[in-house]
Every structure is written in C-alpha cells, then in structure tokens.
Amino acid sequence: MEIKKKDNIVKDFAGLMLVTVFVILFFTVLNSIFGQGDELVAKMKIEEERIAKQQKLSKLISSLPSGVLVTFDGTKNYKLTDELYEAVCEATKLIPQRAIMGANFLNHEAYQIYTNNGNLIEDTFVRWENNICIAGYTVVGPLNDGTEKKITVSGEALSFLSTGIDTRVYFIKNF
C-alpha cells in the first residue's frame, strides 16, 4: 500500500516535469518561429526612453523665455546655464538662414555655392560633442568657376532663438 502510494507520487512528479518541459519547449518553439522577443523589448525600451527624453526636452524648451538665448556674457539676452546649454543643443534641429549667412562670411566657397544654388542646404546638424554644441551645414553646388563642390561648414553654436515652440541655432562661431 505504502509502495503504491510512493509510485503515484513519483508518477505525479514525473508527469508534472513532463508538462513543464512541454510548456518550455512549446514556448521555445513559438519564440523561435516568431522570435526577436528580447530584441523587440530592447527596441521598445530604447524608444520609450527616447520619447521620455523628448518630452522632457519639450517641457524644458517651453519653459524657456522666447527670444535669443546665449552662452556668453555681455548681452541683454537670456544666458543659458551649462546644463540648459546642453539640453537646448540636444533639442535643437533648425539652423535659420541668417546663421548660415553669418558662418559663410568666413567661408567664401560655401558662400559662392550657397548663392549659386539658390540658397539650398544639403544637410544640417546640431550635436553635443566634447561639452560643446557643434552646429553645421553642408552645401553642394557650383563655385563661381563652374566646378561642383561639396563643403561642410561647422562651428560652435553660441546662441539660439527660442520661439516658444522650438529652438534654432542663431550663431555659429566658425572662427
């Protein structure tokens, strides 16, 4: 009687183990078919972090006063703290025409291309690099002598325009 009872316990345990192994195998097979579970979760996490960061930056941008924001002394404009400078840099995507025209003063070939191609900008970038905000743009087109050239002009973004909705690079110091 005692032996039969022990047999049943072993059988139940073996059955439970079998079911467990089956469930694990079942999900392993499903995972291998539909796959990328971990990868998808990692991607979703990155995206969530990106959205959270974007929201934080948007909140910060909307809290800034409208007008010119600078990183240097000697003006009546709003001066950014180091922390705000980095945040504004990371939130900024746009470089308006006057900032480009200003940087072109120190790059005659870029000016020529910009003028000859009808003020077309191929690409712009703003990035936080080695504790400074680097902004720049690329122009592609003909120089005055007709030769085609691609030039990238970049420098430290030292002032920004806050519109209340977004921020724009206002001064690229490329000298």
Binding site: V70, G74, G102, L106, L158, S159, F171
Partner: protein, 125 residues
C-alpha cells in the same frame, strides 16, 4: 456658415496686414536719400540709398546679433566698415562685395587680436 468663413479669412488676413505694416521703408527715403528699411526677418538697414540700393554709409543689424556699420556699394558691404559678431568679436577694416578684403583687424571676444591683409574672409598675411 458663410459668415464664419468670412470671419476665418479676416482673421487670416489680420496677421498678414500687421506683418506688412511692420516691414519695408519705415523712416525717411529708401529710394534716394536717407532711410530705414525693415526686412521680414527683422534685419534692419538705416543709411543712405541710391536708386533703391544701399549705397553710401549705413548700419545693418541682423536679428541674430551681427551688426555692420560702414560703407555700402550696390547693397553690399564695400569700402571701410566694422562687423560686430553676436559674441562681441569684431572685424574692422576693408570690405569688397560683402567680404573682408584688404587691410583689417580682427578682435576675438576674449581680446585676442589679429591684423593683416584679408582675402575673402581669410587672413592671408
């Protein structure tokens, strides 16, 4: 419905009219003489005009902080003039077709100075 449509267009028109009134020749004579012109991006020029061109001496101020004070020819910076950059750096010297060309002195915001001959914005000697 028609009334609302008209109101909608009137509201669209108001900012355009306000913008139009705040730009253009605001003071004086901007054809031949002395006048102040305000551009749509808030760049201003106050100085001498000849045949609707900036010609003579004047002051041009950009909304992002660049200020040029000096001589103009055919609406371009030509002759002697001073350009102040938004951070306080400054070039004082000769200009040709909107570029530093000729003798000039460049003073950085931190006080560093370079003087010499400039060609199309670059110090050559």
């Amino acid at each position: 419905m028609k009334k609302y449509l008209i109101l909608f267009f009137v509201f669209l028109l108001i900012p355009t009219l306000v913008e139009a009134r705040s730009t253009g020749c605001k003071e004086g004579n901007c054809e031949n003489g002395y006048g102040k012109w305000v551009y749509t991006d808030k760049t201003t020029y106050e100085g001498e005009w000849v045949n609707t061109q900036k010609h003579g001496t004047g002051l041009e101020t950009w909304p992002n902080g660049y200020i040029y004070k000096g001589e103009f020819k055919n609406s371009e910076w030509n002759g002697k003039g001073t350009l102040t950059f938004p951070d306080g750096s400054m070039y004082e010297g000769e200009w040709v077709n909107g570029f530093m060309n000729g003798q000039g002195i460049f003073t950085w915001a931190d006080g560093k100075i370079k003087s010499g001959t400039w060609k199309n914005g670059i110090l050559i000697e």
